[in-house]
Point group: C2
Chain length 244, copies 2
């Protein structure tokens, strides 16, 4: 069923108002009066709607049923990825949203080849947010996960370490397995997944993460590419928490 996101304020009195690009998309899909589709308020609520009318300004749809968005996992996972090269960042956003990440943050680390300045990072963020929106629609998410840039490694780790399960993946860690980390705590509702760039992390960065209470974790005995690591961690996490 086609899926549209609208602002929560566009849902009023049993009617969902669809405007802007989504109204155009409705036309492209040739959805006609009487046809049924899903409108999501981006806050985890889905509305099964029937199109009433569509005009130049937008479209009105009657709400038939209100449901919690089925596509939302039971945990809030933030992916923190050290800046990779451009197309890899896009792949991370797209796949992480499909797999149920709730937020994606890019940050600098010592071995990053790509180190955008603030202006360039903000510009990239715009593009990443569009990719997140597209992936959220395609995969049936109930929110559009936000994509942010944090230009301080220290602040990134300080934030990431606050999650119920704060995972920091380090390619040279061989003892502490992901499975062990996932089973080390119970009842967590928030998870951080911190992964490195092409060059991995420096030991000083690992030390800082450890000092902040992050769990320095291995992702198995195969060296994963920087765009594969968050995807693998998310998939494993979703399995472990009953979301797969």
């Amino acid at each position: 069923m086609p899926r549209f996101f609208v602002a929560a304020s566009n849902v009023l009195g049993g009617i969902a108002y669809i405007d802007g690009k989504d109204a155009e998309h409705l036309k492209v899909l040739r959805i006609r009066s009487g046809e049924v589709f899903t409108v999501c308020d981006g806050k985890g609520r889905d509305y099964v709607c029937r199109l009433k009318s569509a005009g130049a300004d937008g479209a009105e749809a009657e709400i038939l049923e209100t449901l919690p968005s089925a596509g939302e996992p039971s945990i809030f996972c933030t992916v923190y990825a050290a800046f990779p090269k451009a197309e890899k960042a896009e792949a991370i956003v797209q796949k992480a949203v499909e797999l149920g990440a709730s937020k994606i943050v890019f940050f600098p680390s010592l071995r990053c080849v790509s180190r955008p300045d603030e202006a360039s990072a903000l510009k990239k963020c715009q593009r990443w947010r569009k990719i997140s929106e597209e992936a959220a629609k395609q995969s049936g998410r109930g929110i559009i996960p936000d994509v942010l840039v944090n230009l301080s490694f220290e602040k990134t780790i300080a934030e990431a370490s606050k999650a119920g399960l704060p995972l920091f993946f380090y390619e040279a860690e061989t003892d502490y397995a992901l499975k062990e980390a996932l089973e080390s705590r119970e009842g967590y509702s928030s998870v951080s997944v911190v992964t490195g760039s092409e060059g991995g992390f420096e030991t000083s960065e690992v030390g800082l993460a450890r000092a902040q209470g992050m769990l320095i974790t291995s992702m198995g005995k195969r060296i994963l590419r920087c765009e594969t690591a968050p995807i693998c961690a998310l998939s494993a996490l979703m399995l472990h928490t009953g979301n797969l």
Copy 2:
């Protein structure tokens, strides 16, 4: 440590002989006499080697230590992916090898947009095998997973269904979760992961797979892209079987 694959017949009397493109790669990496690197026989054995000499014909390295390849998972998983569009097939091969797949098979299904004929499929296979080799080196695998094309859906399913855990992922399956499937049997050493193309599977195809004894399985409540699904399944499988 740099990693090279050689034929098992190139390992003889405590010496590993490196020839062809790998000998060139050794030069590119400027590895000199006395330096240490890993040679893998592609059959799950790693040799820690010290370079003795390198000439126009190839290089000779003294074997210091023989070890089982640490990068091999404890299970043999074959990924069967319905033909996707070109760049997606490449992503599937690369990521599946990183994540521990032992074999990758592409096959046609009714809704495939891309349906190569035999000549074209064989040509693509050559390219996919190169990608597999590169990914095996990069990720530290002990084998180079083979990439094959099977031009019959029926034969593909007949083969896939023989695994100890034969998983057929169907986007319209909502009841039978991946977690349940992974826990439904014990002690399996071989796994099949069958995933669809962009358009998913027809119910007739699902029926055939079910009749052959495959487990029709859901990959959660989010719709995954065809290149994400095998990656997600492999990651979950590796977690479940103690390989992550």
